[in-house]
Assembly symmetry: C2
Homo-oligomer: 173 residues x 2
DNA sequence: AGGTGATTAGTCACACTTGACTATATACGT
DNA sequence: ACGTATATAGTCAAGTGTGACTAATCACCT
């Protein structure tokens, strides 16, 4: 949740905006960095507002319904820097999602498992290709490009591991 | 949540046991594969019991309070195999935890960021070493060893990425 | 026989997250 | 002028996950 707070504060730091814009930006540009959903963003905005890290001004545009425009407060900026520093020193400890299945692989015939892993391997290679093809560029967020490289590296690592695992299974008596 | 169901069904498939044993086994042997907490395990057991995938028999031992012993049902075994197959073909899509901070790194002085990343690098190397040193061995769950290798590979990948990133930051005008 | 700490066994209130829903405004074709 | 599709802006019920708590038993010392 700290990560998500950091994200919202970071976006509001560069520009005041309302919930919709924030969610839109995340969906369009940061889908590879965060999977926060709209409803979560709104509820976080509400919480951050209540705790004084951001403040809302009601904007009346024509005869539209009123919208809230959120801006970061000084307290919010402080929190932003604190969370940013925390995030930068934080070790990534992966719990790869699919590894519980790997634990129980002996419950299926070896050849069937090899088939599934090959399927997974192919899908992962496709996904990797989609990252390699599209050179990303989020205007003022240079760091995003580094995260894309990060994920490419992780996919390659996963692919190597799968190949090695399949090889080893094949070699089993 | 499917992953967690798979884990519980898998453990009950090899042996009927109560909630405490399940949680204990996860904490002791599978801390590197799942981070499911005790309360979650109990609530899952309850749900799986209600939906007929497992069944509970009350065990009265001496004058202790009664405990529930859970066993997998035929429906549960079917579900187990279904989830296992799903898990094996499922692509891992990493959203590395710390990458939101990376996105905003330009908000801090370059040298400060390099300092933090070096700290993170050192911590990750330590963690990697702890995985490399202790040769793991979970008796009847041979697949666990493969997951350990998986995580070692991911740590190495992360380390490479950090080194590369730090290098690039250093090289910036 | 009494105290202390670990082990066994489990519950519960609370926080977080999201799918599905509401509702207005704007664009655009016909 | 009218439908209808899309963008804008947000809410809410329901599900998931867990820290903190309760409570009995056991091991061991003194």
């Amino acid at each position: 949740m700290d990560e998500r707070t950091l994200l919202i504060l970071g976006l509001l730091k560069s520009q005041s905006q309302h919930g919709y814009q924030i969610n839109d930006f995340i969906e369009r540009n940061l889908g590879r960095v965060s999977d926060m959903k709209k409803a979560t963003a709104y509820s976080l905005l509400k919480k951050l507002n209540e705790s004084g890290l951001i403040e809302a001004t009601t904007e009346q545009g024509g005869n539209r319904p009123a919208k809230q425009v959120y801006s970061i407060t000084p307290a919010g900026e402080e929190k932003f820097y604190k969370l940013l520093r925390m995030s930068l020193v934080q070790v990534n400890d992966y719990l790869p999602h699919g590894d519980i299945g790997i634990c129980f692989m002996d419950q299926l015939p070896k050849d069937e498992v090899i088939g599934y892993l090959n399927e997974r391997l192919a899908k992962t290679e496709e996904l990797l290709a989609s990252y390699e093809d599209v050179p990303p560029h989020v205007e003022h967020l240079h760091g995003v490009n580094l995260t894309i490289r990060h994920r490419i590296a992780l996919f390659r690592c996963d692919i190597e591991w799968m190949k090695q695992t399949i090889e080893e299974l094949r070699a089993r008596s």
